[in-house]
Subunit: 361 residues, 4 copies
């Protein structure tokens, strides 16, 4: 079978490196170009010793035209870069998978308010499909431009989806307390992400409102059929490299009648919610609902494209508690991008994504 | 000034080691005895190389009678040990500071339900004072038996206290999403707390109900004047040694009138809550309310008895968000025990507790 | 192609878990049995959540006879277990790959002196082939019993091999300063390997003589053609899970004539040693000699079966310096065992071992 | 007692922060000025939350003249900064303690060769006293300019000192295999020291010759009475924040006669070397020679000014093995600087340096 040629813009960051790890051994595609302004000319295997022997490719200059031979181009770049370049690629018939935030929001004004810069290609908002396969699988398959979700929205939306269109759920008081490894901050030189600043430390950040909040609310609202939704999202920084966990607290709608959270007929009982989740994700290749009582751990999904979900409830009529874990660099970024690519190319959805986490790891 | 003699039961765990670190250089007390059944006879400085040169003390057998010379005895032991031995010490006029869970709950049946064992000294429940100085300072000073709070209740209660007796707060929907370093699990040999099982990993645990939940609810209810209270508490394990953070979500009472969280007259605005907290903790030596906008970090309190608190709110009328950090081994255990001892002996409350966190550290 | 059936004795430790990770997706074998006395009856996927969906296998009792169907059985057990059971398996025509220390030494008395216990099967010493494919590839292919090298000897021998039969080398003064991640200590519950005892800590251990010392000396001496050899080996514990580095210091033989280490004709010049290593390992699938000037990092081999080697020299006529890195759980244990299995079954040597390290990871 | 005023140039790095931690609670000095070009005007307690409440001091501009009121000024700056400014301070009668490399070497040409820049004040080389109190205590007390040793030379020299003037030692083949936590690389934004680049990783660096090599050789040669000395020094990076360990391998001089390393009369036996070290460091407040058989751990000295030393030997006539541990930021930098300050001011040498390491910590 002929391999499809793909390219990567911005290959020296963590999402770029992860795309390389996944794509260089993907059975059905060939990485034909990888650009980096700063490392142009350098062999990929010299720059990333872990890739020695995997490829003879060198980084090329973004202006080199190397991307023109590709069927699909990934952008693993800071925001605004993709938006500036996507138009030209689409015009050449090249499809684009953007891992940045450029096309995740539907509204230009909201985007510019949160990202505090003028959007370079507002005309493409309508074109972009939100790359969460569990929701938009069919649209992704035929999309020209896919906007991969942020890592936090991926972990949180997968933990909320089955509940969002249920009448017994109070959509106005959702809490998403989320935690991320440090790789989420990227590979740029910065004091704040030095080992000596993040090791043996835990903290909230952006607690007054993180950029993923409007993305979350927009796509959760959409899955809730447009009903108004109140969602509080606080991110935290965990002293580890990879991994993301979101603990979600979802209350009963005021009209809900049960006094006890564990009644057989209570739709918010752990068993009922577990049944709901199991049915919802039954045929999903990358969502694993754990048996009741088991706690998901980020290490069990490290290096994989899997989202693991646990369901809990405490004595009394408090919220149902969902814990959702992903690898922020895989299902939260590059793995999900490859999953989208598989859909776009008509490949098996798990092609090149069948990894097992290391233990220990 | 003559130094008061103090003793420690159970000196080989992390809370015992921390008591030693703090008490061996405390200006007003002398560690006269430290017991350990397993290490009896061994020099403390040989067992803990970090204490070489600090003391000539050896661990003594619990039956040796060495504790009888002490004015105050600390129990840094698993639950039921203190309860089994406290009676005899009190009868000799020795005061006791218990770092274990034996006397934290007021109700014997509830205690036995959560700890799944018969309580060895139910008659002492009425005697014990809950050792949270910010609430019970005066009772502690004259107590014969102090029950030091659990680490989670310490971090959470300090972040809730100023709000618990406020009418504008909805007491029925409090969320406490808490995270702890691994030292909270103690120093016992166990697969689950090996470096290879906890490093590069983040997870919930006991999400269906942790033993600190009834303790939390009991003492929060008490500070709320007995009004009914709904509190959901989910603990998480962080890949670090020390440190604890609690993110608290507190909603407006249904009778509250403001639509916007940031109005000048809104008691749930960040500024109003900040004012409330600042006044409440104004004279507290170990509670530091951060300026609005600053995020507390566990590393800034590592090795210290300080609790740092940050206050946040997101766009919309969602909950006020409190982030509270402590060192679980110090303010969450041994430091708070020493603070209680200072109160009991009429010493300055900060005596022997004036430490600065390392950076990096 | 029909898959060969293989079995694992002792599946709940780190080397057992790693064998499962590698073998469950190996293209040419089928894991037919995995024993564990303590977990008999439990599904592997329930015990190791990272393996959920990978296998329906349950742990079986060691006495169950499940191993009898296997062509090859791996022992991932503490020492003496394999020695006690290997005889019976060999008698049934089952070949054995032992990851423990039971058959690494040639001399029974020496073995008993270092392991301080009676060897259960001294008659099998002569049968065992030392499973370092870079030295014993052909013997391994036809062996009935393979003794996989210890992790330290693997990293150190690969860094020494090309030099051991060279006249210009002083064999009597070799220094091997080696460092290991904590997984080397295994998955047993133990205070010494808790996160709280090993994180933010670095130390020597067994500096007066580690059990891998006689193994090292025996096999280095063998590769040196029996010439007497002096080797000092000090292990250190690194606060990480996986990874091993050995820094080797090798001096010029007294008869060597060069005064300067960098002369063109000097066999101990970095360029000459680099040439020697490159030739020696030219066709090795799992040994990667880095270009001069590059420093090997353990993370570049994490999760892989690769050994990376760097070569250095400082101003003056000091020793040549070799730095050798492996993943102690893969090339240092389970990966090398699978490499040996591939040889024994006539499979491509890299079958099922073609992994890339995560970055970050 | 009147407190001496001291100042710090370069207060925002790790050594500056550590000077602040130590000096702000030092019983006999007052920090009167701390400069930082980038943070001038900012309150120290706002910049370093761990110092909230410790000081009202703000960073001042280096040109502000604030340093003129000081009796002693510390430089915690990159190399060449101190050399450029020391002359003016000395001229005003202000004594200087330089934590940088500017005055550690005696030879201008050698300095410029290793630091690859013109030295700004070569005339001051003769003035500087090498700030290793265990060797130069008296000269430090009266010095105007003290050059604090590098972290590696501190750990290594303390482990070598008692042996350097012994005839039975082969000075020409010393190996120093040293390992450092990441804080040694400083607090500058850099990709190489991000948590995601250093966690779960171990590696050599600068193995062809680190800048501390000439410093080491110069001062070791001096302590060896000028006898020629061959020393190989390889640094390694450990995935932790603080801590440094050096494993030293020292061989018997060729004229040495013993065949066995453990003979009673052998000066290179562990017992004899232990006796030698114990006598040598008998009255040193910050050097702790461990009992034979105990392995020093970096965590036991974390946050303290202590150097712990262990002594080992393996079967055969190999080298004596010394393991020396320090906290690279304390005894390896700021703590040693304060120790020097104490000497210069005639204060007790341990004033303000009497800390105990946290456990865990």
């Amino acid at each position: 079978m002929k391999r499809s040629k793909v390219g990567i813009v911005g290959g020296t960051g963590y999402t770029g490196a992860e795309l390389l790890r996944l794509l260089l051994v993907h059975p059905h595609v060939e990485v034909a170009a990888i650009t980096s302004r700063s490392e142009a000319g350098q062999k990929v295997g010299d720059y990333f010793p872990s890739l020695r022997g995997r490829t003879d490719l060198a980084f090329s200059d973004p202006e080199s035209g190397d991307l023109d031979q590709c069927e699909i181009v990934f952008f693993a770049t800071p925001h605004t870069v993709a938006a500036s370049q996507v138009g030209a690629l689409l015009a050449k018939g090249i499809r684009v998978i953007d891992l940045s935030a450029d096309f995740r929001l539907a509204d230009k004004d909201q985007w510019e308010q949160w990202y505090k810069v003028t959007h370079p290609a507002p005309g493409l908002f309508g074109e972009a499909v939100y790359g969460l396969p569990e929701v938009h699988r069919e649209a992704i398959a035929s999309a020209r431009l896919v906007a991969c979700p942020g890592c936090y929205p991926t972990a949180i939306l997968l933990g909320l989806l089955p509940l969002l269109d249920q009448d017994f759920v109070d959509l106005t008081s959702i809490i998403a307390d989320a935690k991320s490894g440090v790789s989420g901050a990227g590979r740029a030189a910065a004091v704040g992400t030095l080992l000596c600043e993040t090791s043996e430390n835990f903290k909230t950040y952006a607690a007054n409102g993180h950029r993923h909040l409007p993305e979350l609310i927009q796509h959760a609202t959409s899955s809730a059929g447009g009903r108004p939704l109140g969602l509080t999202f606080v991110p935290h920084l965990v002293p580890m490299m990879r991994g993301m966990e979101a603990t979600l607290y979802i209350r009963r709608a005021p009209s809900g009648t049960s006094e006890s959270g564990n009644d057989a007929g209570d739709p918010l009982s752990p068993q009922a919610v577990h049944d709901l989740f199991s049915r919802y994700f039954e045929s999903e290749p990358f969502v694993d609902v754990l048996p009741l009582g088991q706690h998901p751990e980020t290490r069990s999904v490290k290096g994989t494209n899997i989202c693991r979900i646990g369901i809990f409830r405490q004595p009394g009529d408090g919220p149902i508690i969902i814990s959702s874990v992903i690898d922020n660099v895989v299902k939260g970024a590059s793995g999900q991008a490859v999953q989208n690519m598989n859909l776009m190319l008509g490949l098996p959805e798990i092609a090149g994504l069948d990894y097992t986490a290391l233990l220990p790891g």
